[in-house]
């Protein structure tokens, strides 16, 4: 066990060198300076959930537009997009990395319930605002978290508006519901039942689907046997496509109306071989019609997207990134040149009926819940959007 002195000295010197090289500032970095404001965003850019990643790139588009117009009070917006593959442990790594190594003022448009639940406490501890987390699950927002602002509407508000529309406008007699057997489907199911009670109606049938199921013929035959004329759907895009195909194959043609997660008609028509348009499927929606260039800013966004990101498809999830980022940009503009986290929070809390290309957003210090406003779309014969009901606020929100 004898170690020669020379070796010992060399090793200690080496070790000290490692210490010195590796030392890094420990203090949390500030998220902005005179030239730029640093903002973070996480989303799955690779892996099975990758299509959702378009939202973060949509945020990037809006930031690029703002930067081209001269930035916000002389500061450029700089966005850091981190790929978490929809894995909470990766989200945590990405968020800590951005906070520690880059220094970010806020996060915008983080995708997914599980990733957001994993990091929300950490962000609150470090006083970093998370604006527009991309999930409609309730447990992100309840109880109230002062560092988290919602833009993505809650599913039960969505379902409540939808049920009212189905009864009042579609004059449905027998309403069926096809729902995913977890919170994504169960919250809306309860909301639909609550709403129908006010009309002294009941669901004719409610059929659950497991998220991994790929053969929905038994569910469809149950819906058909119940004689539904309208079916409300709370399922994933693939399953909605499978359900539609199986229904048509047994000549069961109710009016389908799906959640706002399925508003990408281009995509839905692709995976249903055009059945989506042929059957005139309806969905609720949380953005303006992104192909209606008469709306303020819409043409500018679409044209800039074509110019700056020519490979990107001008689709709903890409636009959803813009919807998520607009309130943050608005608040940053309001906060003025004298920027600080406190100023940003103050302006976010003052948000009053702010309208971008999404629903109107209102927040206060005690209420950070997402908007409760939706419109209803129908897929026209050419796959185009027909707005069958304009923006409608849920007049019967759940007490929270």
């Amino acid at each position: 066990m004898r170690i020669s002195k020379n070796i010992l000295v060399t090793m200690i010197v080496l070790l000290l060198a490692v210490f010195l090289v590796a030392s890094e500032g420990l203090a949390q970095k500030i998220g902005f300076d005179d030239k730029e404001i640093r903002i973070g965003s996480w989303s799955p850019q690779t892996g099975p959930a990758a299509p959702w990643g378009a939202t973060s790139r949509g945020v990037k588009l809006l930031f690029d537009i703002i930067n081209e117009e001269g930035g916000i009070h002389g500061r450029q917006l700089r966005l850091f997009i981190r790929d978490d593959q929809y894995n909470p442990s990766q989200t945590m790594a990405a968020v800590r990395d951005l906070v520690d190594r880059q220094g970010v003022l806020a996060f915008v448009g983080g995708v997914g319930t599980a990733p957001a639940l994993a990091v929300k406490q950490y962000l609150a501890q470090n006083k970093i605002p998370l604006v527009s987390v991309m999930t409609g699950a309730e447990n992100i927002h309840v109880p109230h978290n002062p560092w988290l602002w919602g833009t993505w509407p809650l599913y039960d508000d969505d379902a409540s508006v939808m049920a009212k529309f189905v009864v009042q406008k579609l004059k449905a007699k027998k309403i069926g519901m096809l729902y995913q057997n977890d919170d994504y489907g169960l919250d809306p199911l309860a909301a639909v039942q609550r709403r129908l009670k006010t009309y002294n109606m009941e669901l004719a049938i409610a059929v659950p689907v497991e998220p991994i199921e790929r053969d929905l013929s038994s569910q469809i035959s149950r819906l058909k046997a119940a004689g539904c004329d309208v079916v409300i759907g709370y399922v994933a895009p693939t399953q909605a496509a499978i359900a539609l195909r199986s229904a048509v194959s047994v000549d069961f043609r109710p009016q389908w109306i799906h959640s706002y997660n399925l508003t990408d008609f281009v995509l839905m028509n692709k995976i249903t071989d055009g059945l989506w348009a042929k059957e005139g499927v309806m969905t609720s929606a949380f953005t303006d019609d992104i192909f209606d260039y008469s709306l303020p800013n819409m043409k500018k966004y679409a044209d800039t997207a074509k110019r700056l990101a020519p490979d990107e498809r001008w689709g709903i999830f890409y636009a959803a990134g813009i919807v998520a980022a607009e309130p943050l940009v608005h608040a940053l503009k309001q906060a003025g040149r004298d920027l600080s986290t406190e100023a940003l929070v103050r302006e976010l809390n003052k948000m009053d009926n702010f309208k971008g290309i999404g629903p109107r957003v209102s927040w206060s210090a005690k209420n950070h819940l997402p908007p409760k406003e939706f419109s209803v779309w129908k897929c026209g014969p050419k796959g185009e959007v027909i707005v069958v009901q304009g923006w409608t606020v849920n007049d019967m929100p759940k007490k929270r």
Binding site: M1, I3, M11, T46, A50, D100, R101, A118
Partner: protein
């Protein structure tokens, strides 16, 4: 390589002064780490150490006993859920809860070891794979486990709050030290297990289970014991993971995670504790940190982004990470089938006879 004169020399924990020295240096670096590294690295290192515990345990099963498991994410999940559930519903202190949860995982390991008595190779792989998937879905469908929404870990109290003695680990630094202590203890346990009668029985089973039985090794006992031991390690890892991350849902423990555990020990080197440690560290680093910030590096970043824009999908930079991870794995398997540990042995041999 080293000349051994007695049995006890062979089973010594430290075989030479050099090893003692480097172990101390390594530990000193780990202990002083929080002094000069940011919060992010503490999280990353805690995660690495959690995976080190799991892969060291998995290596006892795969590397030393020659069995296979694609269900370790299941044991990992049992550890995580078990620890948190025992702490919240039964009000147990942390240390009791995590060890109890690890024993629950070990029990499931024992049960899964039973089919291993008759199954081999691909058949055993499928059986364990089914177990891993089943656990994920059972948890996802059970309301008390939080269903698919997952669970938020309670305050990390390592005292005994029931007796009024409470010690809450709030900062990442304190969690890091706790995980470090657990890792050192678990690695020492693993090293020692391999030097006991049981460890030698495991190796005998790996080399030839018929021969092992002939020389009097109870196959039933030692095969199930290998599964249980390995599951115990995964359980401890899971319990720590729950608090390092603070939140988990069933999908966290998916098949990919099981595969990644296997990748860690294969890349690191089957049958060696040092191999599984280095494998776990390398793979975690590749998956969590590599290339994460390269887009912001002045010249290289811009070049890579331009390359990706030209030839790859719109996702951009993130494509590279996947490719790099794959290339590293292929590279190691191609040039060093024994894994990182094999490479280390080669380097050691080379320098021993240098310059001849």
């Amino acid at each position: 390589m080293d000349m051994k004169r007695a049995y006890y020399e062979d089973i010594e924990l430290f075989k030479s002064g050099t090893i003692v020295f480097w172990t101390i240096v390594f530990l000193a670096v780990l202990v002083t780490f929080p002094l000069y590294m940011s919060n992010y690295y503490l999280y990353l290192f805690s995660l690495m150490m959690v995976y080190v515990i799991v892969s060291v345990g998995l290596n006892i099963l795969v590397g030393s006993t020659g069995q296979i498991s694609l269900g370790h994410a299941g044991f990992f999940a049992i550890g995580a859920y078990g620890t948190v559930m025992l702490m919240t519903s039964l009000n147990l202190p942390f240390f009791v809860a995590i060890i109890a949860a690890a024993f629950i995982a070990a029990f499931f390991g024992f049960v899964l070891g039973l089919p291993a008595l008759r199954l081999e190779g691909p058949y055993l792989t499928i059986a364990t794979l089914a177990f891993g998937l089943a656990i994920m879905h059972i948890i996802g469908h059970t309301e008390i486990f939080g269903g698919r929404q997952g669970l938020v870990a309670p305050a990390f109290d390592i005292g005994v709050p029931q007796l009024g003695w409470s010690y809450i680990l709030g900062s990442m630094i304190s969690k890091y030290y706790l995980v470090l202590i657990f890792t050192i203890v678990m690695v020492l346990i693993a090293i020692n297990i391999l030097k006991t009668k049981a460890g030698r029985a495991f190796v005998a089973i790996r080399d030839s289970d018929i021969a092992a039985e002939v020389i009097g090794i109870n196959l039933t006992m030692y095969k199930t014991l290998a599964f249980a031991t390995s599951a115990f390690f995964a359980g401890i890892g899971g319990g720590l993971f729950a608090f390092v991350l603070g939140f988990f849902d069933p999908f966290t423990f998916n098949l990919i995670l099981s595969v990644i555990f296997i990748v860690m020990i294969v890349v690191g080197g089957l049958g060696s504790v040092m191999g599984s440690i280095s494998g776990a560290i390398l793979i975690t680093y590749l998956m969590y940190d590599l290339f994460k910030n390269i887009g912001e590096v002045p010249i290289v970043g811009a070049l890579l982004v331009a390359f990706s824009k030209q030839f790859m999908t719109i996702t951009g930079m993130d494509n590279f990470n996947y490719i790099a991870v794959g290339l590293v794995m292929i590279g190691i398997m191609l040039f060093e089938p024994l894994g990182l540990f094999g490479g280390w042995i080669r380097i050691k041999k080379y320098w021993k006879t240098w310059p001849f």
